[in-house]
Amino acid sequence: MNAATAAPAAAPHSRPSSRLTGRRVLASEWIKLWSVRSYWMTGALAVIFLIAFGLVAAASYSPASTQNLGSDSVSLALGGMYLVLLTVGVLGVLVTAGEYGTGSIRSTMTAVPRRLPVLWSKAVVTGAVALVLGAVSAVISYAGGEGLLRGGIALPLTASGVLRSLMLAAAAMALIVIMGVGLGSLVRSVGGAIAILAVLLLLLPALADLLPTGLRNDISPYLLGNAANSMFSLHQSAGALNPWAGSGVAAAWTAAALAAAAYRLIRTDV
């Protein structure tokens, strides 16, 4: 209240309790997420990929096809997840690295000179949006696919493990969008951050397959792409982590990226 009484006569406007708070930074980042077309279009793209891939996979499923060997109703519904994860990761990158590319980071960090609340808010806002959109679209993809499936592998949504897989797919999307937020803030370049994201999600798991079996079994399950994948698999492939361990490993990757981003954010000039 000192500030109010000490306010100089110069201030012509009343000054309600307009100070900086974490909740307000969150509100600001919410506005920012929805006010740039490329942001929400990237989000919409992820939703479309998830649902479209699921429905197409269900409609074209045939038990006789070798392509569908080992498929279950969940893996069909979530068949587009690699692409979906890459897309939400790009969204995360755009939200942070995009600010450096356009210069809007100067406005942002002048308004929030402590800086870290901006990073946390971006993580929370994008993570929450990815979680909700992911959960809804995963259920739509699964339920929609159910009606199209032939060949007796259809399972009701209430069957053991189905809902868990769908919800953890949404959680994976949330973790990867936050991963993108962290990488974008860390390297401050949209191109660079997307490249790193693609390496972590797609390239490293593929390269690990080339390793000698023993070494591969020790390393491969813990790579980001594979850990995320094991989160939403109804039946684990040999050597993969169980869904909860996979969640833990993916969360650790995300936390590491976010921590590195936070370190750079407070230590270096904007």
């Binding site: 500030a3 100089p8 006569a9 110069a10 201030a11 012509p12 406007h13 000054r15 309600p16 309790s17 307009s18 100070r19 900086l20 708070t21 307000r24 930074v25 509100a27 600001s28 980042e29 506005i31 920012k32 006010s35 740039v36 077309r37 490329s38 995009g98 600010e99 356009t102 210069g103 809007s104 980071i105 100067r106 406005s107 960090m109 002048t110 308004a111 929030v112 000179p113 402590r114 000039d269 904007v270």
Partner: protein, 315 residues
């Protein structure tokens, strides 16, 4: 009040700000002058904490900018015009900034109207002209109704009407008792807006003065005189604080250190006919050039941009 104390900022082996020390007082417009690359923008970035000083400090009303609970209420800054996401509309940009401090939509609307952006507020900022971008930057700076305004080259790209508007706005804000700190590389612009002047070159403080002093210093006490007997007049006027120069074969003398009135009186007493007597009010521009001349000379000896690499190759 902005206080800069022994401020140093180095980027690698390049020193952008080199021991600056000055105070920007409230109630008047203070111009921040220097050639391009003198360190003006860096100093402003240091004030709002976008960059951290290597040594020294920059405080606003006695505290570091980042330590305030409502920073936008304290300092409104226009740093570079392009500090906006080009895909976001002007009003969304302002709304997002306002939201960090819980500043309401009414204030957002107010600054949009104040800066004349009403008709384009819903357009994407990327489509804005440089002048409109400046207006948006100024709108953002005014959002928190801050005690201190800090604007980096605000009239860049503005049309004459806009320039006049900024001038009036800044003077008005200063008259309300606020601290107004405005950078420019154009002395003529500052002459019409600022009262106090901070002049820097190569990151160093060259002058902490006022517009009036700077003009007086250089040209207030000088005149050209054409007379019937320049040789005798030269002797008459000679004194410790006086310099008299004249071109051979010309009746004209240039006298510094005496006013036109003193010269005229001296000539009359000695019975020398004066044909022409012109007091020299050296332009502020000349004064500025004199102040920063060293800097410019230095640059012309070493062609632009070679100072850095030269140092490196020597090392």
């Amino acid at each position: 009040m902005i206080e800069i104390r022994q401020l140093v900022k180095q980027y690698g082996d390049k020193t952008a700000v080199d021991g600056l020390d000055f105070t920007v007082k409230p109630g008047v417009v203070t111009g921040f002058l220097g050639p391009n690359g003198a360190g003006k923008s860096t100093t402003m970035r240091l004030i709002v904490g976008l960059d951290a000083p290597t040594t020294g400090s920059a405080t606003v009303n006695g505290r570091a900018y980042a330590s305030y609970r409502a920073p936008l209420r304290e300092v409104g800054a226009l740093l570079e015009a392009r500090s906006v996401h080009p895909g976001r509309s002007a009003s969304s940009h302002l709304r997002a900034l306002a939201a960090t401090h819980g500043i309401g939509r009414r204030r957002v609307q107010e600054v949009i109207e104040l800066t004349g952006l009403s008709s384009v507020a819903r357009q994407r900022a990327g489509k804005f002209s440089l002048g409109m971008g400046q207006r948006l930057g100024i709108a953002a700076a005014l959002l928190g109704d801050p005690e201190t305004l800090m604007l980096d080259e605000p009239v860049n790209g503005l049309d004459p009407e806009g320039v006049l508007w900024v001038r009036t706005l800044l003077k008005g804000l200063a008259a309300e008792g606020r601290t107004v700190f405005v950078s420019s590389h154009l002395i003529s612009e500052m002459a019409q807006t600022a009262t106090n002047l901070i002049v820097i070159g190569r990151g160093k403080l060259l002058a902490d003065t006022t517009v009036n002093q700077l003009t007086a210093q250089d040209g207030g006490q000088s005149a050209t005189v054409t007379s019937s007997d320049p040789a005798r007049l030269r002797q008459l006027l000679a004194g410790p604080a006086v310099t008299v120069t004249g071109a051979p074969g010309s009746d004209a003398l240039r006298v510094t250190g005496l006013s036109a009135r003193q010269i005229g009186t001296a000539a009359a007493q000695a019975g020398i006919a004066v044909y022409e007597l012109t007091p020299q009010t050296a332009s502020l521009e000349q004064a500025f050039m004199d102040l920063t001349g060293e800097h410019v000379e230095f640059r012309s000896v070493h062609p632009a941009g070679t100072a850095g690499p030269a140092e490196r190759s020597a090392a």
